[in-house]
Symmetry: C2
Subunit: 206 residues, 2 copies
């Protein structure tokens, strides 16, 4: 054997208990699920919260189109079946992250209530908090913002089945948080979510 460099180790077989992770990370793993139209502000708010959490010594991670669509879900398109599978996989991955102890922020339009509810169910079945955040903005306002020109393309028929234009968005019926982005700034929105995490005891450890 090579020279032993890692010393003073207690060896155990078997799984690490959740409480052990919570204590190490001083938080409880959970998923904060952002849903809303394209350009409603989901990712901007999610990344602002991620940054604030890491600054405060908490481990958070954002799952969004950039790291999911080009990787895990690159073999999925935008048909109804593929959209459902897209959200199913994100639900499963966010649950794994939450189990590992992270505060996981997911930022996807996730337009269908049934798909979001399935993501909630697998978390709750595993005893993990699931906080649905409805990032609210009217189609009109999102279309005005249109930072990536997607609404313009959708209106021109270049993007079929675009949520809010040619495909439905089903608003959450009982989200834990509603962020009215026509009234709140990004920082106010992020603060609202952070306050919710504190109030639910997710940042207090154990």
């Amino acid at each position: 054997m090579a020279k032993q460099v890692a010393t003073n180790i207690t060896w155990h077989e078997g799984h690490v208990e959740r409480e052990h992770r919570n204590k190490l990370l001083k938080q409880r793993g959970a998923t904060i699920w952002f849903t809303g139209l394209s350009a409603s502000g989901k990712s901007t708010i999610a990344f602002t919260i991620e940054h604030a959490l890491v600054e405060r010594g908490h481990l958070a991670y954002v799952l969004d189109g950039d790291n999911i669509r080009h990787g895990l879900n690159k073999n999925l398109g935008f048909s109804p079946e593929d959209r459902e599978e897209n959200i199913r996989r994100i639900g499963e991955v966010s649950k794994l992250f939450a189990e590992a102890g992270l505060l996981t922020l997911t930022s996807f339009i996730s337009p269908y209530r049934a798909d979001r509810d399935r993501a909630r169910q697998i978390h709750e079945k595993a005893g993990l908090a699931f906080i649905e955040v409805f990032v609210e903005a009217s189609v009109e306002l999102c279309e005005q913002r249109d930072p990536r020109g997607l609404y313009a393309k959708a209106r021109a028929g270049e993007i079929p089945e675009f949520t809010g234009i040619s495909a439905p968005y089903e608003e959450p019926l009982k989200p834990e948080i509603v962020l009215d982005t026509e009234q709140l700034t990004v920082v106010e929105s992020a603060q609202t979510v952070l306050d919710c995490l504190v109030q639910r005891g997710l940042l207090a450890g154990g």
Copy 2:
């Protein structure tokens, strides 16, 4: 707005940098990829390392059949295409975990060299360490151990395409670590991997 309970926050938009995560976790995110026959000892060794790392204040998480096959990959079977997609997804998820800063331990037979190499490539392209650990044991020994009676079922023809019996296992050509489980105890194997993590500077932060 509700009462502000989280205070003294510096607000930033944009992504958390990798160095910031490393500093917070006192480690560098990486994937330790265990490959080997059924009953070679992959999961036992992986969980022993996970436990030792968490004991020492490091964040580690095992991805294995239990949390992947019943969740993310429950819509996959054992055809060659599904086996490839199984390992592709695990590669992508382990990369996300490593990006989030975790020491990610994957425990899957992963019999095909090309599939493992693809998992390695996506890590290395992202500047993340990928440590392939070949958990070595002869088919004969694994068949003697057969803790779940799978080899017996495979011999009886009840499990088609069983790695080592009726489906190939392609040994790694240049794994970072080889664990000869016919010679090493579980603790000696775990120690060997842990020493490698120390030597590669993955546990030193920054």
